[in-house]
Amino acid sequence: MVNRRAAGYTLLEVIVAMAVFGLFLLILGVLTVEMRAQEKRLPVNFLRHPQIVVVISKLRRDVLDGHGAKPYRSSFGGYTQSAKTLIIESVQENGGVQTIVWDFRTPGEVHRHAYTVGVPSDWTARGLPADFSNSLVVGAVGIPGRPWGVRVKAQDGNGRIAIDQILQPRAHE
């Protein structure tokens, strides 16, 4: 006669053990799906990308230091003011004025060309996400009584707005 101990499990024992574990896995699955659904509501956080943070920070500095009530030029050095190109005259630390061209046209790159008395100095950010480069637009925003501001917008791959910032020149008098 076979010893009960040596006979292995009964079907009922196996079913109970598997049911307990299955229930646990089911709860985990439901929680994970719910968590993913919550995450998908939010846009990709471009501002976690160090190069994008630097681009926005430098751009903010340039706009806040915009020179006078009309710091924007319609064209300069072969560049034309557009949704992908920002031309701005910005006050330097020494009080001089720099003409700065922000060029967002190259996918994955942002170029900043600064001209001081005609002498250029360039800075480039590389390795930017394609969605950021493709969707980034620079527009104008009007707040009554203030010079035109710059509105920077970028969307993630699903069309959700990830960056929407108003940059407003400050008075320097």
């Binding site: 499990y9 985990l28 968590m35 956080n45 976690r48 959700r160 929407d164 008075a171």
Partner: protein
């Protein structure tokens, strides 16, 4: 012989319990990490909206601050992923010629909140831009 007896139900359940604990702890760490990343993304959106609103509130005449809208004037499309959300602006006079403009974004039924305060001073002249 003992090796041929297999495991008892208690032994199997104990093993599953240990496995469950390990999986639960791993998942808890994963969920917590994702929760914090999500909160960081939400805060980034909220503070962009707050900073944009601050640009509008800077320009409002000092004496007209209280009369201005108690909701955000600026475009809040950016906050759509936080819907339903609420915005509020409160003006407090802290000193005779100083007012605090506190802008607030609330979401998740008011459980989450981001604030930005702007100090406005009565310069007696026209507003600087």
């Amino acid at each position: 012989m003992r090796d041929e007896r297999g495991f008892s139900l208690i032994e199997v359940l104990a093993a599953l319990l240990i496995l469950t604990l390990v999986i639960t702890m791993s998942l808890a760490a994963f969920v917590e990490r994702n929760k914090r990343l999500r909160q960081a993304s939400e805060i980034i959106l909220a503070y962009q909206a707050l900073a944009n609103e601050a640009e509008y509130r800077r320009r409002i005449d000092y004496n007209a601050l209280e009369a201005a809208s108690a909701q955000f004037i600026s475009d809040t499309t950016l906050l759509a992923p936080l819907a339903p959300f609420g915005t509020a602006v409160r003006v407090d006079r802290t000193q005779p010629n100083v007012k605090n403009v506190t802008m607030t974004v609330r979401w998740k039924n008011g459980q989450r909140e981001a604030r930005l305060a702007l100090v406005r001073a009565d310069t007696g002249g026209t507003n600087l831009w």
